[in-house]
């Protein structure tokens, strides 16, 4: 949804990096086959993570193929697809469709509305296949919208709704593993919501937009509180994750959950430092000899 759930390439071996790329390209291809080019632009890291996770859990037979595509016309890419690709692609469409509608509602983003309009047909198909999942997504997002309208200044309420939504999406089928899968998805949902609110806060304050952390941000220890909260919720996610009997591609999954999810956060922390460093550098240059 927001691109936090991705690998940290610096800490992942080449073989696993290529595997992840093949999953990602495979998702793109599945979206293309099912929903055309329009489906393809909705491709997200979150649902690629879900595909790697479910594939590791259920180990279905996989198809590896190679080819060129519109975004990468020169170098051949590897595509990894399996019987779980369709489900993850469908959930990808459902989440993207609602995200676009949200953007339209929140920010009156015309692009959002246009995209939601175009995705409408694809979404109706997904809804026909997974009515319960789609109903849960819709209900949670509607409730989050309500909280935003009420200017809810407790981030937990909308974070818990995001948790419920993602938890529902992660339970692919009700089997022996559904509880850890749901808990995993819930933890990730909380993490994504909080991280997004944290990252958007400066811009939201500037533009006087709703942000659930606006009140908390006034406290002197805000940064520590956020860091500890994010760690707490991702720890709930990994606690459930570590209960699952995962072997295949477990390096990729651990890389995402223990490292990749923090990449954007660290970039944000380091940005002010980098800017300061730049300032000092230019100071240095201008100083007369």
């Amino acid at each position: 949804m927001f691109g936090y759930v991705t690998i940290n390439p610096a800490e992942l071996g080449e073989r696993s990096r290529n595997r992840y790329q093949a999953y990602y390209c495979g998702m793109c291809r599945t979206l293309m086959h099912r929903y055309g080019n329009l489906g393809r632009i909705t491709l997200s890291n979150d649902m690629t993570f879900l595909l790697v996770l479910l594939s590791s859990l259920y180990e279905p037979e996989e198809t590896l193929s190679k080819g060129r595509c519109l975004p990468h016309p020169i170098r051949e890419r590897e595509y990894l697809e399996n019987e779980l690709s369709d489900y993850c692609a469908d959930m990808n469409i459902a989440l993207a469709y609602h995200k676009c509608r949200d953007d339209w509602n929140d920010e009156h983003s015309l692009a959002g509305r246009a995209e939601a309009g175009l995705l409408e047909k694809a979404y109706r198909q997904v809804e026909g296949r997974y009515p319960e999942k789609c109903a849960a997504i819709e209900r949670c997002l509607k409730d989050i919208g309500k909280l935003e309208q009420e200017n809810c200044l407790e981030p937990d309420a909308p974070a818990n709704l995001t948790a419920r939504m993602l938890g529902e999406v992660f339970v692919y089928r009700g089997d022996y593993w559904s509880v850890p899968l749901r808990t995993l998805g819930e933890g990730l949902g909380r993490f994504i919501y909080l991280m997004d609110a944290y990252e958007d806060l400066p811009a939201d304050l500037r533009r006087k937009r709703y942000n659930p952390l606006a009140q908390y941000a006034k406290a002197p220890d805000y940064e520590t509180l956020i860091k500890d909260s994010l760690t707490m919720v991702i720890a709930e996610c990994t606690q459930a994750f570590e209960l699952l009997p995962l072997v295949q591609d477990v390096e990729i999954l651990r890389n995402i959950l223990y490292s990749g999810v923090w990449v954007r956060y660290r970039q944000k922390q380091e940005k002010p430092k980098r800017e300061q460093a730049k300032l000092r550098e230019s100071d240095h240059e201008q100083r007369p000899v």
Partner: protein, 262 residues
């Protein structure tokens, strides 16, 4: 389950988590009902393997001991001297309720062999039943009502009672934290617990609540770095940063250091 789960999975009691998982996968491939034409024998075997796996992995727990369990896994006869509380299992004293009993989370029909439903809520409950330590409510009848509501798990009511209290000292923040744990409000719980400790740093129960809330996160960081990930945040960024800066300042002759924390 009658057989030793280590024996069922064919691993030694010293097996690592990854070894247990690999052993499980091997057996799961062998006995999966779909691959055995739905044979009843394979199905029974699969059930046994699933149970053995679940028992081992939830008790062994990859360094993720349940921080509130306080080693009370008395019902678990498979080693792990203390430290690994069971997830609502036999040792925890409230296992039967588990999850789904009136909680709005909606685990509904999910079969929950792990018995862990919601770590966060269970953590609260274990906290609540943890001995008869001071609860800071003896001299305050209003807070006493809050405590009663919390013990009855009526968190919404407890929250209303707290809102009505105007005299907000450290104990008020402590109880607000506990109520928010019960409601599943993580950020709020953490925030209140931090304030309580800030106001009364020497109160053991306040500190215990706060460190309990942070314990999972600490395990997460420790486990992440033991796996070689530096992406997760280190425990003490200030100190690391300081050392890095000192080192850089020494070797770069006062130039700016390029090293960041972690």
């Amino acid at each position: 389950m009658n057989r030793d789960p280590y024996e069922v999975l064919g691993v030694s009691p010293n097996a690592t988590d990854d070894e247990i998982k690999a052993a499980y996968r091997k057996l799961a491939k062998k006995y999966h009902p779909d691959l055995n034409g739905g044979s009843a024998q394979a199905e029974a075997k699969m059930k046994e393997v699933n149970e053995a796996y679940t028992l081992l992995v939830k008790n062994k727990g990859q360094g993720y001991s349940h921080s509130y369990g306080s080693g009370s896994s008395s019902g678990n006869s498979y080693g792990n001297a203390g430290g690994y509380g069971s997830y609502g299992g036999s040792g925890s004293g409230y296992g039967t309720g588990g999850y789904g009993g009136g909680n709005q989370g909606g685990y509904g029909g999910d079969f929950d062999p792990f018995g862990f439903g919601d770590f966060f809520r269970q953590a609260q409950q274990q906290q609540a039943y943890r001995g008869n330590q001071t609860t800071y409510t003896e001299y305050d009848p209003l807070l006493k009502n809050v405590e009663d509501a919390v013990l009855d798990r009526e968190y919404e009511r407890a929250a209303q009672l707290l809102t009505a209290i105007r005299d907000r000292r450290a104990a008020w923040y402590y109880w607000s934290a506990r109520v928010n744990v019960g409601l599943g409000n993580r950020v709020a719980a953490l925030n209140y617990a931090r304030t309580a400790v800030e106001m009364a740093p020497d109160e053991p129960a306040f500190r215990e609540l706060l460190s309990g809330l942070n314990a999972n996160g600490q395990n997460y960081r420790r486990y992440g770095s033991s796996r070689g990930f530096t992406g997760a945040l280190c425990d003490n960024p200030c100190l690391t940063l300081l050392i890095a800066n000192v080192l850089c300042n020494c070797c770069c002759l006062g130039g700016r250091g390029g090293a960041y924390c972690c």
